[in-house]
């Protein structure tokens, strides 16, 4: 029996009361509403799917060009283009409900009232495992990141949402701050059940011949392997002080990357930009984590989380 348990290690992890079969989620904004990848990926093998950030009303997003490639990464300023919550529930959610993989919705608003209304609406819908609260998008002019860079505003918006919903609540943090642990503490104090980090790092790229930014929004969010060391450092910092599970995001493209985050203290990870490059990435990361556990005689994922030697 010991042999058997070694051969099939337990990859389950509990995020805010949602038990995931494995710790590999897909990051919001990089996986559409799931179905986009259905021909390429066995979606039931994912730990969870986090859908594109949703607002109350459909949002058009920013004018093009919206993306630019940078060394080992990309900048984006999509501007949270999305179908809106109602269309999501009517047109996108029914497919997601056919999967065994839990769906998390990522939501954002321009005001605390919009956030609250959305949270209340989510509370009334079946088939949504949890809420990821986006207080960290750098590419919308109001709301979004404005809440994510100020401790008091972060506290206010998380508390307001908490009052509206009993659903598991994960707050997605911005790295564009002086001390991410202070925002993390505010979110936990206000009732967050989990924290996910990092969102993109604000950056720029310039076309020197035209002397224009390579993206219409001028600044954009940097993602991809280029940001992994920064993300890992922040996840480690937050995991040390946080009383709730931390989900690591930022440049993860291989099982080794994911394992670094788990060892640093993340209870799960999200794959983002790598989905664009290699749709099969998330499933390969799951397999790679399992193989690592077998090779190292680790029976349960929880034995690995936060085991960084210092």
């Amino acid at each position: 029996m010991a042999f058997e348990s070694e051969a099939t290690p337990d990859l389950t992890t509990n995020i805010a009361g949602v038990l995931l079969d494995n710790p590999v989620m897909t990051a919001s904004g990089t996986f559409g509403y799931g179905r986009e990848y259905s021909q390429l990926v066995d979606l039931n093998r994912l730990g969870a799917i986090v859908v594109k950030g949703l607002s109350l009303a459909p949002a058009k997003g920013n004018p093009p060009p919206r993306i630019a490639e940078t060394p080992c990464g990309m900048l984006n300023a999509i501007g949270l283009e999305n179908v809106g919550f109602d269309v999501f529930v009517e047109k996108k959610l029914p497919y997601l409900k056919t999967l065994s993989t839990p769906t998390w919705v990522n939501i954002y608003g321009k005001t605390i009232e919009e956030y609250s209304t959305l949270a209340r609406r989510v509370d009334g819908v079946e088939g949504i495992a949890g809420i990821e609260l986006n207080i960290s998008c750098p590419n919308v002019k109001v709301g979004g990141v404005a809440f994510g860079v100020d401790e008091e505003m972060a506290f206010e918006v998380v508390r307001a949402v908490r009052q509206q919903t009993g659903r598991p609540l994960m707050v997605k943090l911005s790295p564009n701050v002086t001390d991410i642990t202070r925002i993390a503490q505010s979110a936990v104090d206000a009732g967050a059940d989990a924290l996910s980090l990092i969102n993109t790092i604000t950056g720029m790229a310039i076309d020197i011949h035209r002397r224009r930014s390579k993206i219409a929004n001028i600044t954009g969010g940097l993602s991809g392997p280029a940001i992994k060391p920064v993300a890992l450092r922040m996840v480690w910092q937050v995991a040390q002080m946080s009383s709730v599970p931390v989900v690591g995001i930022g440049g993860i493209a291989t099982a080794e990357d994911a394992l670094e985050f788990l060892i640093a203290g993340a209870a799960a990870v999200q794959i983002g930009t790598a989905n664009f490059v290699d749709p099969g990435c998330a499933v390969r990361v799951v397999d790679g984590i399992r193989k690592y556990m077998i090779d190292h005689g680790i029976g349960r994922l929880t034995e690995l989380i936060g085991t960084l030697e210092t």
Partner: protein
């Protein structure tokens, strides 16, 4: 839609700065349609990070007709295509496709104009070949090829070889054909005899001029556009295209295109 590891069958210089690459591919590409594209990873590593989109130039078939590969045409314009130009026969690459909305073909025999600017000729050979396979009279099809200079003119002989009788050549600098933009001879030909449809692919100013002219003469016009693209499958929403008349949402080149009715988008 298939993600697969494929091999380079050949990678030859077409003319200065332009290459023709043959790749192995899944036999399901027999269902690929002209105007569709593939996303190719140019390295296995992370730099450059994103896949590059390429129109399918043609399918490679065995003597029995089975699809054994596909061909892309590309111009070296930056880091990604420089890496691609270094590829040798037998090298492995990661291919995702076929993707996007194809050209829609006429339902009845029709007078077809095909306009290509520079590397925009890439999807047009597949289109012409498909029209021929579907029984259209290719000899009546008129092809317009334009480029900056004579070194930017591709595939002329390929069109003649499959039975096109008229290939109009223009260059910006007059080094080959007529010194004009490609829309010059198209408009003159339109005045002589209105085609049923114009298919166009090329740089934005050329597409803009072609679309405007088609609208003036009330000719259906389908254009294949090139944009920055992240994923190719409608997930990143990076390839936004403005819809005609503004509207409350953007279209996306990867799933709503890359072929659009010219009247549907704001170029």
């Amino acid at each position: 839609m298939i993600q697969e590891r494929v091999q380079v069958r050949y990678n030859t210089i077409e003319c200065s700065g332009y290459y023709r690459m043959g790749l192995t591919c899944h036999s399901d590409y027999r269902r690929a349609k002209p105007g569709q594209f593939v996303m190719l990873r140019v390295v296995d590593g992370m730099n450059p990070l994103l896949r590059r989109p390429f129109s399918i130039h043609r399918l490679i078939r065995s003597s029995a007709g089975a699809v054994e590969g596909l061909e892309i045409l590309y111009k070296v314009v930056g880091t990604g295509t420089e890496r691609l130009a270094d590829c040798r026969r037998g090298d492995g690459l990661n291919l995702l496709g076929p993707l996007g909305r194809p050209f829609s073909l006429p339902e009845r025999p029709a007078q077809v104009f095909i306009a290509a600017g520079g590397i925009g000729v890439a999807p047009m050979y597949f289109l012409t070949e498909t029209l021929q396979k579907k029984g259209f009279d290719i000899s009546s099809c008129v092809v317009f090829i334009g480029g900056r200079s004579k070194d930017d003119l591709l595939c002329m002989n390929d069109f003649f070889a499959i039975g096109v009788k008229t290939v109009n050549i223009t260059t910006d600098d007059g080094t080959a054909g007529e010194q004009d933009v490609v829309t010059g001879p198209i408009e003159r030909a339109v005045k002589e005899g209105r085609p049923d449809v114009i298919y166009a692919c090329g740089p934005l100013p050329m597409l803009r001029a072609t679309a405007r002219m088609a609208r003036r003469y009330d000719i259906p016009c389908q254009i294949s556009i090139e944009t920055m693209m992240g994923c190719g499958i409608g997930a990143c929403l990076g390839c936004a295209v403005s819809a005609a008349g503004g509207g409350d949402k953007y279209l996306h080149a990867c799933v709503d295109g890359p072929v659009f009715n010219a009247a549907d988008i704001d170029l």
